[in-house]
Amino acid sequence: MKRKTFIVTLLLFMIFMNSSMLIVSFITLRERMAAERETVLAEHYVISSGLIGDMQAVQNRGGDVRESMGDLMRTYARYSQKRDNAFAVSCEGDWIWYSGNTAPAEDPGGLAGQTDQSERMVFVRRKPEWQLCVYGRFPAPFQEYGLWYCAGLSDTFEAWRGMKNMLFTISMTVTFILALFLVKFLDILFRPLREISAASRVIAEGDYHTRLPVRGKDEIALMAEHFNRMAEQVESHIKLLQETADKKQQFVDNFAHELRTPLTAIYGYAEYLQKAPAAEKERFECTQFILSECGRLQNMAYQLLDLAALRELKTEVCSIDSLFQRVREIMQVKAEKSRIALFFSGSGEYVIGNTELLITLLSNLMDNAFKASEEGSAVRVSAERKEDKVIFEVKDQGIGMTREQIDHIKEAFYRVDKSRSRAAGGAGLGLSICDRIVELHGGSLEFISEPGRGTMAQVILPGGEEETGFTTS
């Protein structure tokens, strides 16, 4: 691209420069020729008028004009000897006198025939060298005579050639200087393109932090700006993908780890049963372990399926009263078993969401609250509307969590206290499911907790238009 621009620009410049030089030199040549012609004509006139005067004087004296022509012409010949001129005088079709050693090549009769009294003939001779010749006949009474005057053009041509050469030298120098400037200029002009190319190569190699410097406000700057925006987009997308991939990897790692414990137990007890001499009681205990570990795997599989199935959301308007009613039905037995008092507060409100998923969400949160609670304590579930949001809270008076535990609590398979949680039959996926449900509803899930002071799980869901809930009731 750069080379093409360079070559085309230089070529165009050379064509225009040289052709204008050529035109200038031809115009000059023509002007010089015109001037030369004037000079030659003037000189011819001076000589012929002088000669006519002399010839008249000779005739008046009674001398033979033709005979004395040699003497008459000598003075003129001497006058113009230094220049490379030539003279010749014709009379009745013959050259009667001529300067130099040879007569002019032209036929004087022919020349005389072509000119009349008043006109002089000017022509250019090319051989033996460039010369400008003038032939004019004398007026009466010497109409038989004619003067041929020839001035060499070599000086003129020499001067012209010199000028022409100088012009071309100037043209070449200017072209050369222009070429240097052009290289530098194109270099500057194409620098942003080079930078963009380099930056895109770096990005292509996987380094997405690269940005271009934006200078000025021209098209290139605009392009650099767009390029930067593109790079930013690419970087953020890649980062997002990376995060998602990391999360998935983390999930898979945790999952593999989580699978190992039941697998180890199942494999180990099966092998034990096969290879060791086990009595009836021991066989029962071993199979019991195998069964309970299988139950754990099954539980995990169901929860994973739940998590995987949470992809789309069918929403409806659900009354919080009936929601609480159903959650209470599900959780009451568990609460009684753990000797935990359950309290529900907040009524008459409506929330937009999927009833089944909201029940899963609340019962999972309550399940966690039970696990953290001691016997005899209370778990409170409340719902309230604040502006356009519906806020659910599940509060317990249990063991609480540290800041660090809260940060990890939503990760799949994370357990605050793994032995307790496993003994309670959890797979470590409950809060992952809750988080996913809240995310699908476009809400947020927060935990406020302090060790020893209990935990509050807060779900904030967008409530939709306030009227919607009441009109559809």
């Binding site: 697998l263 180990g268 096969q274 290879k275 060791a276 205990e285 032995s419 307790r420």
Partner: protein, 217 residues
């Protein structure tokens, strides 16, 4: 007979390890929490500790720091090299990754006890006595004339007592992988051992599997 401490929070796996070790005649103490492990280690001496890394309370590495002089086998769920190296660098003597096989656990425990001289120098069953140091089998105090392969076979059975060993496994352990003979060789040697040592009742044939030396725990 060694005193072994098992520190593993999963009751099912803790139980599994205890049962396996008791087959070999060891005495086990079961602990399910890191802090409790540190407490009991300060009070009592053990010949070997089997330690899980992920524990409630103090984790396995913290417990490891409290253990001095007692050999430790780490129990890891992660098979990554960095986890193994971390444990080994902090003073663990060996590791087992979950899931593990009975023979592997038995072999590693046996090897570690032998290295720390805690393995018994002899084994007695009924009127048969196996002297590991002198490489002798004695019946009623009198040496029995047996071939080196018969001796090795009996040692293998004793070391993995109460665990059924398949004929193929016995071939591997006693004759080595490059042995070309069939599993009939094992049967023949077992018959001879039973006859020479009078252990027809003790070396039992396990259906479809192989042989097991049954010794009271």
């Amino acid at each position: 007979m060694a005193e072994i401490l098992i520190v593993e929070d999963e009751p099912s796996i803790n139980e599994l390890i205890r049962r396996n070790l008791e087959l070999a005649g060891h005495h086990c103490t079961q602990i399910f929490d890191g802090n409790e492990a540190i407490t009991i280690l300060a009070e009592k001496n053990f010949d070997l500790v089997i330690l899980d890394i992920m524990l409630p309370g103090a984790d396995g590495y913290e417990v490891l720091e409290q253990i001095q002089g007692t050999p430790v086998i780490l129990l890891t769920a992660k098979s990554e090299l960095s986890d193994k190296l971390r444990g080994l660098n902090r003073g663990a003597d060996d590791y087992i990754t979950k899931p593990f096989q009975m023979l592997e656990l038995a072999a590693r425990v046996e090897a570690l006890l032998r290295r720390t001289k805690k393995a018994k120098k002899c084994f007695e069953l009924d009127n048969v006595r196996l002297d590991f140091e002198r490489r002798l089998i004695l019946v009623d105090g009198k040496p029995v004339d047996c071939t080196p392969k018969e001796y090795d076979l009996f040692v293998t059975l004793v070391k993995n007592r109460n665990i059924a060993l398949s004929r193929e496994k016995l071939l591997d352990l006693v004759w080595g992988y490059d042995f070309d003979g069939g599993t009939r060789t094992v049967d023949v040697h077992i018959q001879r051992l039973r006859a020479k040592l009078g252990l027809e009742e003790r070396i039992v044939t396990v259906y479809k599997l192989g042989y097991r030396l049954e010794a009271p725990v």
